[in-house]
């Protein structure tokens, strides 16, 4: 079996045999999936042809930044969505030359994996910290939010109420703040940045109580009060309000 990258390059150069080899593993799986999703076997077969044709025509946009099978399956899923949207009006055929498909192909091509080793090390450190102080759900909510920028969409993806998602997000932020504040303030931009955040809370309608303010100087000795103070800071952080 030739390497996928070699086959892609050969297919891009117009080698139909290379293209057949590339898709031969996915073809039956795609057909099984489509047969489960669309009305008739005939529709599934037509849709599969359209998907493979569209993928072949857009192969030059595929830059290998994501696995080939996942790229192909995204086109297939997108084709299914078009099928449903059109099924009420034109139940038989769909065209994949839709703006959404074009955008999808471009988007797939533009995705970037981690660039450098340093970035990877920082990423692993951040993940380790997040795992140690956040619950699984809090971590999932935060990471989904990075991808979508919308609490509503995170709620849909996680089958949760948006208010619950928001609450998990805030708790994750507060837990991280409490940990980073006490152990590794450089992650937060150093003591100066923290002081700016404290000043913002003090100037707000919901300032720190004296106990909460005191806890910031001695976080190890006043766990619960300190976490409350962190939650107040988390609530005032601009990212959550600004993006959603």
């Amino acid at each position: 079996m030739q390497e996928v990258g070699t086959l892609i390059e050969a297919a891009k150069s117009g080698d139909p045999h290379a293209w057949d080899l590339l898709v031969e593993k996915e073809r039956p799986r795609l057909l099984t999936y489509l047969s489960r999703k669309v009305r008739t076997r005939e529709d599934a077969e037509n849709l599969l042809q359209d998907i493979l044709l569209s993928a072949y025509r857009h192969l030059n946009c595929f830059r290998g930044d994501c696995p080939f099978d996942k790229w192909l399956w995204r086109i297939a899923a997108n084709a299914c969505i078009h099928y449903y949207r059109q099924s009420g009006r034109t139940p038989k055929h769909i065209s994949l030359d839709q703006p959404e498909t074009e955008a999808l192909v471009q988007q797939s091509a533009q995705e970037n994996p981690l660039k450098g080793t340093e970035e990877r090390i920082l990423a692993d450190q951040a993940l380790e910290i997040a795992r140690s102080v956040c619950s699984k759900t809090e971590l999932q909510v935060m990471m989904f939010f990075y991808r979508t920028g919308s609490m509503e969409e995170v709620a849909g993806l996680m089958e949760m109420n948006p208010a619950t998602v928001r609450s998990h997000f805030l708790r994750a932020r507060a837990n991280l703040l409490a940990h980073l504040f006490a152990n590794d303030p450089e992650w937060l931009g150093g003591r100066d940045a923290i002081q700016v955040a404290i000043n913002q809370v003090q100037a707000s309608a919901d300032p720190f109580t004296p106990e909460e303010l005191g806890s910031i100087d001695q976080p190890e000795q006043s766990g619960k009060t300190f976490r409350k103070a962190c939650l107040k800071i988390a609530r005032r952080l601009p990212d959550l309000r600004g993006r959603d």
Partner: protein, 274 residues
């Protein structure tokens, strides 16, 4: 600028665990939290741009598939059975059967009454859902009862054997497919072959998705009884479908279909071993 900027930037490119296969991603999108090892898988999806993108598309497929559409239930004569109703697309697809010729079911004479009765699952339903976990029987006071569950996928393969004089047992996890339940009463310990009045019941074990459809139909019974009954009929849940007939409109078309559903139910009761 958020004080979390540095941390967010780092965490947003961290990847937790190994990539999921396409099959794992479709399963995750289709059945959500009921997926095995859900937390582990969804954490990876949240952290991995490739798996996330595909998962999001698959979720989009599920959302589009179950998106309400305007379905008008009409029979061939053109009269609306239930008026306009917002129905998921998969329901509208099942309702296509209403447009075709009436299926033929003939009332059969019931088989000779047996002293062995299957009480649960209900014999009138030819299919069982994932929620039906208990099998219960009445073996007419037999000292011992052997209960066998066999898969009928070409070769008959015993799945479980329960012995003793109880009257119920838990069903094992059944993969979607056809099964035969055999109940064999024994007069005493020496009667290991059974006394000859063994009873057989054939069932279809429904997939998770079809089990969800049965649940949908029960929830929709009040608002759209025709659609709910036809969905249940399509899935082999004849007894459930017939239970809803008293909510159907009293029109000629509806009565023709009422007869079909009742006949399918009677047919099943007459010979549950088929």
């Amino acid at each position: 600028m958020s004080m979390f900027m540095k941390f967010d930037r780092a965490l947003s490119v961290a990847v937790d665990g190994e990539c999921l296969s396409v099959d794992q991603l479709t399963e995750l999108a289709e059945i959500g939290k009921r997926t095995g090892d859900f937390d582990h898988k969804i954490t990876h999806v949240a952290s991995c741009s490739h798996c996330f993108s595909l998962y999001r598309e698959f979720r989009g497929v599920e959302a589009a598939r179950t998106e309400p559409m305007l379905g008008v239930l009409r029979l061939s004569a053109g009269k609306a059975l239930e008026g306009a109703a917002k129905l998921p697309i998969w329901v509208a697809e099942m309702l296509q059967v209403l447009r075709g010729p009436l299926p033929s079911h003939t009332y059969r004479a019931a088989a000779q009454a047996s002293s062995v009765q299957l009480l649960n699952p209900i014999v009138g339903n030819r299919a069982i859902t994932r929620d039906e976990r208990t099998i219960r029987w009445d073996a007419g006071g037999a000292a011992n009862v052997d209960v066998l569950i066999e898969r009928m996928n070409g070769t008959i393969q015993p799945i479980a054997i329960t012995a003793g004089n109880g009257d119920s047992a838990d069903l094992p996890d059944l993969a979607p497919g056809r099964y035969r339940i055999r109940i064999r009463p024994q007069a005493d310990d020496s009667d290991w072959l059974g006394s000859g009045n063994e009873a057989e019941f054939c069932f279809e074990a429904l997939s998770v998705a079809d089990s969800d459809r049965v649940r949908w139909a029960h929830n929709a019974a009040a608002a759209t009884p025709v659609a709910a009954s036809i969905v249940l009929y399509n899935l082999g849940r004849y007894a459930d479908a017939v239970d809803m007939l008293d909510r159907w409109p009293d029109t000629e078309e509806a009565n023709n279909w009422r007869f079909v559903l009742e006949a399918a139910h009677q047919d099943r009761l007459a010979d549950p071993s088929r």
